[in-house]
Each structure stands twice: as C-alpha cells, then as structure tokens.
Amino acid sequence: MAINIVLAILVTSLATYISRFLGVITSKKIKENSKIFKWFNCLAYSTLSALLARIIIFPAGALAEVDYFIRFIVVITCLTIFLIAKKNFVYPTVLSALLLAFLSYNF
C-alpha cells in the first residue's frame, strides 16, 4: 500500500467535515421560513437523489460486479413492494439483500 492508512483516514474525515462545518456557518444567516431555506431543501433532496442514482447505475465497490440489469430489477421490485406495502420500509430493505444475493449467485 503506497500511502499511510491513518493519513488517508484523516484526509477523508477532513474532506467530509468541511461541508458540515460550512453548512453550520451558512445556517446562522438563514431563517427557517425563508425562500433560501426552501431552495436549500430542494438542493439537499436533489443531490441525495443524484448520489443514489449514481450508486445504483454507476456503482463503486461490490455492486459494480453485478450486472446493471440485475441491479435495476432489484431496485424496481423493492420500490414496487414499498408502494404496495403502504410505505413499509422493512420489507423492501430485507428483500433487496436476499433478492440481489440470490440473483447474483444464479446469474
């Protein structure tokens, strides 16, 4: 391994904390019922969605080894179950692991 692991951990943490820290500073000037607050709320949900879409379609790590069609089937199936089961979170999450492990084992 070329670089020191502890240093890599510290750098990763620092790069992560910066966004949280700047967020607190910006928050001081923003009122709860202002338009800017609403705009940031939209930004928070849209960046999260962008990240999720990226993880599902262009994943890193273990997920990258599964065919994208299989990942797609799992996500759509679980989302359908979530909507049918009146927005219960437990069924789709537990099922997603089992279904993907099964499909990945067999195909």
Binding site: T16, R20, S27, T93
Partner: protein
C-alpha cells in the same frame, strides 16, 4: 445538555421506519471491505467514527487499493460528500436556539448523514425548539453507534462473507434511501427535486463522473425550486 431529550432522540432508532437496518447492512459491508484491503480493527473503527459518511469511506477504500495520492482522496471525497452542505443548511436553521452554546453546533454537525437527517426532518416539529439540538445529538449518537458497531461486526465476519452476500449487503442502503426519497415526494417541489436529481445526476455523469452529483444536484434542485414556486409549491 438535556438528557431527557437526548435519550428521546437516541431511542428514535427503534422506530418502525428507522434507518437502522439499512445503516447496519451498509456498514457491515464497509467493515468487511476495510479488512479485505488491509486495515486493522482500530483503523476501521476510527474511520467510521471520524468520517461517518458512506460514499466517502467507499472512495477512500478504492483509493487505497489503487494507491491514489492524498490530494486525490481529498478532492474525490469532498466532491462526493459535498451533499452534506445543503443537508446541513436545510436542517440547522431548525435547531438554533439562543440558549445553546455555539461550539455545540460545530460538534453536533458531525452527526449530519442522511439517516439521522431524515429522522430529524420528520420529527423536529414535535420537539420544543429549545431542546431540538439535544434531541438531534441523541438521534445522531444512536446512528453513529449503529454504524460503528456494524463496522466492527463486518470486520470480524469478513471471512465468512462471500461475494454474493457482500453484494446483497451493499444494495440495502441504496434501496432503503430510494424508498425514502419516493416517500418524500409530496409536493411539486419535492417530487421534481427527486426525479430531476436522479435524471440529471446520471446525465452529468457522462460529462464528469466526479462532478455529476454536485452539478446534477444543483441544477435539479434549483429547477425544482423555481418550478415549484411558480406553481404554488
């Protein structure tokens, strides 16, 4: 620190729609990954404790494998975790109160991660403003504890996990949060933010894989905001 509100926040982790399962599964996968790339148990726990943001940890792990430079790691992690900035700005104005010491906000912001953030967004109205920060610290501490225990657990069971199980663990988190995002689509603004965010996030990937989350998220969120405002939300 008001202990009663701290505990009230802490035990939110037990609720039915809690992110605990998804959080646990994904950090078990991270713990196992850390072991496989050569971190020891202290380093693995230290990493989750200090970073506590999954995509960043994943990037760190991949960078260690390919031997990327520290500057590369910094930039890549910063870009993928920059979403924490709008998340903080859309949460902390709800928690401020003049009786809370300033330093506490800078420590409490470490708990910003999607799981705790969602619990807080859902529950803040039911908590008196004065105690919201204490409640938030409780929620955050519970989620971080789950993440740390899961990392340690994953590290120890790594040898018993095969490739298919790892893949199964890795999908739980994205599926859980996809469900949460779809569940949040209650207004025009929220629905557009989620749908456009996904579509543009992917579209921008073809322009720049590093910048796609930020560029896609920013464009989508801004569009959603203005379209929502024009249509009375």
């Amino acid at each position: 620190m008001n202990i009663k509100y701290f505990l009230k926040g802490f035990f939110c982790i037990k609720s039915a729609d809690s992110p605990a399962i998804a959080l646990f599964a994904s950090f078990v996968a991270i713990g196992a990954l850390f072991k496989s790339i050569g971190l020891n148990i202290q380093e693995s726990i230290f990493s989750t404790f200090l970073t506590y943001a999954l995509p960043g940890s994943l990037i760190m792990a991949e960078s260690l494998i390919v031997g990327a430079s520290l500057l590369n790691i910094f930039l890549a992690v910063w870009l993928v975790n920059a979403r924490l900035y709008p998340m903080t700005v859309s949460l902390f104005p709800l928690l401020t109160h003049k009786n809370q010491p300033k330093l506490k906000y800078y420590l409490a912001c470490h708990f910003i991660a999607v799981s705790a953030w969602l619990i807080m967004k859902k529950n803040y109205r039911s908590i008196e403003r004065k105690y919201r920060l204490d409640y938030w610290i409780g929620v955050g501490a519970a989620n971080l504890s789950v993440a740390i225990s899961a990392t340690a657990f994953g590290f120890f069971i790594a040898d018993y996990l095969n490739k298919d199980m790892m893949v199964g663990l890795a999908i739980v988190n994205p599926v859980y949060f996809t469900c949460v995002m779809v569940g949040a689509m209650k207004t025009i603004q929220m629905s557009l933010a989620v749908i456009l965010g996904s579509v543009l996030g992917i579209s921008f990937y073809f322009v720049s894989p590093e910048w796609c989350i930020l560029l896609g998220g920013f464009t989508a969120g801004t569009l959603a905001f203005f379209i929502g405002e024009m249509n009375g939300n």
